[in-house]
């Protein structure tokens, strides 16, 4: 709570949900009608372009991520979904040769500004990876790692660990073996551990890159349920190749595709359509979106 910039809550001028009937739809995931665009976005990208060396990976992406919403990024392989996601917490800084142009704002502040510390950004914006990557430490130490390294003030680490594991629906399965290595857990448990590890640092936004792609349907369903629970407290952005998953959990969906450049032939990713998930899946405005979600393309 205290980590959020003050201006984030100072904005009382945005249109309340009920006053925008023309652009209101019933979300599949939520209960209240949502406006067409997030009224009070936690994060936004503005004219985001990403290059890997000379390769133009993503072209002009404008997105807004609403508070306590789940936003899904979908699209064919190689269209730049992971690239965009990694820009949201400056993980692209770690890729040699990667260059980001445009703006990514977090509560109105450009996280690519000169005076922004990427490490500080990542304490607010956590990330769960495609392949579970628990540390080769005990389950307990995995959860405690984030709070320890970020110097969080913690009354009781035991309580925090329990809270995080409960939050990730893992507590009952591991409460008797907190001192055992996390490597001994199943893939689905490891992924929930990674989610628990992320929420233990009390981030504001959680980014997930195909978090269920290595999991069986049961584990996937558990993580989807978990996301729906987490959204009450967090803003979530998820990359997925699973259309049903996007339809089931997300409030909004952004569809990307890769367009070959006429001169170089490079496939540069671009945002085709961004709308409420309902709209994307029932009444998309772009033919390419419709082709993709109906399985005719991609």
């Amino acid at each position: 709570m205290s980590k959020m910039p003050a201006e984030a809550t100072a904005n009382g001028t945005h249109t309340p949900h009920s006053e925008a009937p023309m652009t209101t739809f019933v979300s599949q995931a939520g209960h209240e009608p949502l406006p067409k665009l997030p009224p009070d976005p936690v994060m936004e990208t503005k004219a985001l372009n990403v290059f890997y060396g000379d390769f133009h990976a993503v072209h002009d992406v404008d997105l807004a991520f609403g508070r306590n919403e789940i936003t899904a990024l979908i699209g064919p392989s190689g269209c730049g979904k992971s690239t965009v996601l990694r820009c949201l917490n400056r993980m692209n800084d770690l890729v040699p040769g990667a260059r980001v142009e445009g703006e990514v704002t977090y509560h109105g502040q450009n996280i690519y500004a000169k005076d922004v510390d990427p490490i500080a950004v990542r304490t607010h914006i956590g990330m769960v990876f495609q392949k579970p990557n628990p540390f080769p430490k005990s389950i307990y130490d995995n959860i405690a790692y984030g709070p320890r390294v970020t110097g969080m003030k913690v009354d009781s680490m035991d309580d925090l660990v329990e809270e995080a594991l409960r939050g990730a629906a893992l507590w009952d399965e591991v409460k008797d073996k907190l001192k055992q290595s996390a490597i001994g857990l199943s893939g689905g448990q490891q992924q929930r551990l990674c989610i628990a590890r992320t929420i233990a640092t009390k981030p504001d936004v959680i980014l997930m890159d195909e978090p269920c792609s290595a999991l069986d349907p049961i584990a996937t369903a558990r993580i989807e349920d978990l996301m729906l629970e987490l959204k009450d407290d967090y803003t979530i952005v998820i990359v997925t190749h699973n259309m049903q998953q996007a339809a089931r959990v997300s409030d909004r969906t952004a569809f990307f595709t890769a367009k070959p450049d006429k001169t170089t032939g490079n496939r540069t990713g671009q945002l085709v359509e961004y709308d409420l998930t309902n709209t994307i899946f029932s009444n998309p405005s772009d033919q390419r979106t419709e082709d993709y979600i109906s399985g005719r393309f991609g």
Partner: protein
């Protein structure tokens, strides 16, 4: 058209069952057999040579303990009289002192270099830095010994630091021994650190850890067994190194723990005594083998202990 079932010969391309069963019978591969045999031979030979050396050392070493009471061997002082000067504890002290000094220098420097190369250096810097570090490993040990004797002691220790050290002393021998094993520790540790999956680093950084925290708390523990192996390898080289300690460490048995004094190590003892004329089968001759065996046992014990420690603390990924 003839029905395809009656057509003999190779199976038709495309789908369907082949007309005749394909030939899956074993084929002779003489080349393969030959290669396997010669590889097995080389593996067997190296094991055999190792055991041969142990046996060759063991024989005279055991006769030594027939000639000399074991208490005289594990003793702080040589017994007076005209018998063999059997005390080995001073030699152990010499080896211990120089090795500890070497490790105190080489572990922090070697690990630091490894962490820098693996976690901080740009790929370009790393590409030329690592071979440069490894080049140090190729310096002949006699050059190091010379360097210790004629530079470290007179110029660095006595000159710059103004220490009152002997002409031969354990500081110089230990420090140069340390310099000698830095590349081993750095290069092997770097291999172990770079082998840690990138996903673990990303996981750590994504939680708001900085690079140092990621390196010390995630990468290093995950690479611990490789890093420990690197240190043990360096340690074994320090324990077994002969030229540096013979030239710069001194040739007197000394029970003091003061590194500014000369100390003969086990290896220096062997090198020096082996040059004397000791008739085969004499106690002096056999003592060489007894000390050699002890050296062997010491190295073995160090290895065993470090394996146990690594088992206890390692974080396998």
């Amino acid at each position: 058209m003839a029905p395809s079932a009656t057509v003999a010969g190779p199976p038709p391309s495309g789908a369907g069952l082949p007309a005749s069963p394909p030939d899956l019978s074993p084929r002779p591969r003489p080349g393969e057999t030959l290669i396997k045999l010669s590889l097995a031979l080389s593996a067997g030979l190296s094991v055999l040579i190792t055991f041969g050396i142990i046996a060759a050392v063991l024989g005279p070493a055991l006769s030594f303990f027939d000639q000399v009471p074991i208490g005289d061997f594990f003793s702080l002082h040589d017994q007076g009289g005209r018998g063999v000067r059997a005390a080995v504890i001073p030699l152990l002290i010499g080896t211990f002192l120089t090795t500890v000094i070497a490790l105190a220098l080489a572990v922090p420097l070697g690990l630091g270099a490894a962490m820098y190369l693996s976690e901080y250096a740009s790929p370009r810097a790393r590409k030329w830095l690592k071979p440069t570090v490894e080049l140090l490993a190729g310096v002949p040990s006699v050059v190091y010994g010379f360097f210790a004797l004629f530079f470290i002691t007179p110029v660095v220790l006595q000159g710059w630091l103004g220490l009152e050290v002997n002409f031969t002393n354990s500081w110089a021998a230990g420090l140069v021994l340390g310099v000698m094993i830095i590349p081993t520790i750095a290069s092997r540790s770097e291999d172990a650190l770079s082998a840690v999956p990138q996903a673990l680093r990303q996981g750590s950084l994504a939680m708001g850890a900085n690079r140092m925290q990621t390196t010390l708390r995630v990468v290093l523990p995950a690479a611990l067994s490789g890093v420990a192996a690197a240190i043990v390898l360096g340690l074994s080289r320090a324990v077994g190194e002969t030229m540096i300690v013979t030239m710069a460490g001194g040739a007197v048995k000394n029970n003091s723990l003061d590194p500014s004094e000369p100390h003969m190590t086990m290896t220096a003892f062997i090198a020096i005594t082996a040059q004397g004329e000791n008739p085969v089968g004499s106690a002096d001759y056999n003592m060489l083998f007894a000390v050699g065996l002890l050296l062997f046992v010491v190295t073995f014990v160090i290895n065993a202990i470090s394996i146990a420690i690594v088992r206890r603390f390692r974080q396998a990924y």
